[in-house]
Subunit: 427 residues, 2 copies
């Protein structure tokens, strides 16, 4: 297999709120995938506060170790927004006001029925030798430049603004510059992702042993989180061996079987939603320990109102009896956290709502409420789609806090629906 050549990239997220304010930079994954297509590999991600000399220092370090540096944030109108100044300072340029940038800001604000404040004019100043990157959504323009052999782009930190600017502004400019760098040829890379649910990392690891042949330039990544184990295959789009990654992806899907619930940007809730729509079925859910999380996740998907009939969070026993028709005697005999109550909840919500499928969860999310026989992490999931289509599952989730147990319970419940919908078929 031919030797893969990639360029190294670094992202720099600018903003004290990212360092100290409890906010997280969520942009680098998107940027990593876009850059991979240009043969550029994200290897470093740095976060720095709103301090001019710190940003300049970070920028200099990045330009030494990376050929592509993408800055996000710090392009707003306030005096805390220092990215323009920092790039100008580091690269020894002055800032110059661009008429095109100014016109863009005025036009965007006019759309919103507003006139610019003096501080907003600051956003029209970019380093003298930089190229302007138009912002199709907000007011802050971005810019790009090549400095000492490093391609550098500065973009807003808001994902809705940053993403189209990478696709429409950064990538074409980066590719055209790469074309001029004929001393180095780069191999475009592609990254394909599978999402699995219901098994630990070690099972996925074992199933995929030997998948990628020794000496291959394709890399397998296996990443575990409380909700899932994610599998990624990253490698060159190789003209000599077209389809290698696709072939390995197909082989991985075959080996993993039905634990694979989706690809790329799919989520469990989007897959369940698609399957319900395809089959023209509706869903109603009765949640106890998940407290509304299943409803929240299902309704994150646009158009969920066409298949989510209702969700009832029956935290109290009274609500279980009144709203779901769970017999009080069943709760008394088996306890609220039991397979019997899960079954009655699923049946009750289906019958009373008229939905095609009823889903239920009851369990102990902790930290309190656990006993020797019913410990924290014990969760029952029920599914009911009619007299001969009912089932319950028991789960024991170890070593997580309240939120992790809620998250894992919601995933297990949605996964049960997914598996049932696939087995049921399109008919």
């Amino acid at each position: 297999m031919s030797k893969t050549r990639t360029w190294t990239a670094e992202t720099i997220a600018i903003g004290s709120e990212l360092l100290l304010g409890g906010r997280l930079d969520t942009n680098s994954l998107f940027i990593a995938d876009c850059l991979a297509a240009c043969g550029v590999e994200l290897r470093y991600k740095t976060t720095v506060g709103d301090d001019l000399s710190d940003i300049v220092a970070v920028l200099k370090t990045a330009s030494r170790r990376a050929r592509v540096v993408i800055l996000t944030g710090g392009l707003g109108p306030t005096i805390d927004d220092l990215t323009r100044e920092a790039v100008a300072h580091a690269t020894g340029q002055r800032l110059s006001r661009r008429k095109a940038a100014l016109d863009g800001i005025i036009a965007r604000l006019a759309e919103w029925g507003r006139t610019p404040t003096p501080s907003q004019f600051r956003q029209a100043k970019i380093p003298a030798h930089a190229e302007l990157l138009a912002n199709p959504v907000g007011t802050a323009p971005g810019f790009s430049l090549v400095w000492k052999g490093t391609f550098l782009a500065a973009l807003p930190g808001v994902p809705r603004e940053m993403e189209p600017m990478v696709r429409e502004g950064v990538l074409p400019r980066l590719q055209s510059w790469q074309g001029t760098q004929n001393t180095i040829s780069v191999t475009p890379m592609v990254r394909r992702v599978l999402h699995t649910s219901g098994v630990p990392e070690s099972v996925v690891d074992q199933a995929l042993a030997g998948l990628v042949p020794k000496g291959s330039s394709i890399r397998l990544g296996i990443y575990a989180s409380p909700l899932e184990v994610m599998v990624s295959l990253t490698g060159p789009i190789d003209a000599k061996e077209p389809g290698t990654i696709e072939r390995l992806l197909h082989e991985a899907r075959t080996r993993l079987g039905d634990i694979v619930y989706g690809e790329a940007a799919e989520t469990m809730e989007s897959v369940v939603g698609r399957l319900l729509r395809e089959r023209q079925l509706t869903l109603a859910a009765a949640e106890s320990c998940t407290g509304g999380l299943i409803g929240h996740r299902l309704t994150q998907v646009p158009g969920a109102s066409s298949y989510v009939e209702r969700v009832i969070v029956s935290y109290s026993n009274r609500a279980k009896v009144e709203l779901l028709g769970v017999p009080a005697g069943v709760i008394e005999r088996h306890g609220a956290v039991s397979a019997e109550v899960a079954a009655a909840m699923a049946r009750g919500i289906r019958e009373r709502s008229g939905a095609s499928v009823g889903l239920s969860v009851t369990g102990i999310a902790g930290p309190g409420g656990g006993t020797e026989s019913k410990p924290v992490g014990l969760v029952y999931v029920g599914l009911d789609a009619g007299p001969n289509e009912a089932m319950t599952r028991e789960f024991r989730f170890h070593g997580g806090d309240r939120n992790v147990i809620k998250q894992r319970s919601s995933q297990a419940a949605l996964d049960l629906v997914r598996r049932w919908l696939i087995k049921r078929g399109q008919g």
Copy 2:
């Protein structure tokens, strides 16, 4: 005011899943607050994949620009876990197996009813001159060492393991080493945080203008996110002017008034929960566009079952009529997204559940479903606590996606409950 001296710190999060796997490093805020108390300021945060030479390079850069470097992640048992090797390599030490570490791993696994695998013994090897940091929760021990004038600590990436290790292991060792560095005296810093809701950043900015006197070593930070505007005051714990930060914090609270909903680690849902408990009241919620998010947030708080009676996600009109008793004629006349329907939902859930307070949300989360007169982002919140205790509020959330509109709606609804509970008083 005396000149403040702080040391610079950097965190290094290690793991390809943090760079490319869509997972986020959530540890640095906790570490920043702990270090501040030792007069050490977090200025850089770096993320790097599971690549030995990349980790070594990042470690060398960090030790040049920071006096304290905290590494998280990469201490697991697999060959992808390279933190131990990287630190040994960068500092020119060999790895040596520690008996205490080995005994700790065996004892922890025995608690879980397991015996160690050979790969788990890897975790007992740490750099030869490092001090062992016990892990009170998991199997991976951490370690610390001083190298060329930089204090360096390596910890697991799992917050539940990392947090006690910082408090019980890293901070005492860092402080005792600082005591030996008598060429530099450090000023312990403290960071206090207020959370506000319901107003834009510019309002908070204006209200706090001039709060911190010119030349003061206390810094004011104002950070906006979709859910809130956060205010932070960071400064020295100054023996000459004790209580300065507390005085400014009090002044900030007074200036901001009832838009402040909490301090430090408080969340809107934890504050609402505390107020309900103090007043011995219960809550039931009827959610439409938020889809279960309010229920999910309320039940993130341990013990929520004592005051959350039920939550109904009435996505369909049928559910609104059947479960909440909203008159079909009201929906027909005013539309499902209207103040009238919000009022009927809040009244209905209160009356049928027997809870003290009924809360409702109906709105258009988008991206579809908006019209000229009822655009995406239009949301009505209703609160009903009895015949003379009912109100509705209209919100128009601009420029956010479906998730942002759901989040902001849930925050506005919970904030209405908070304000009502405070006004009602303890009686």
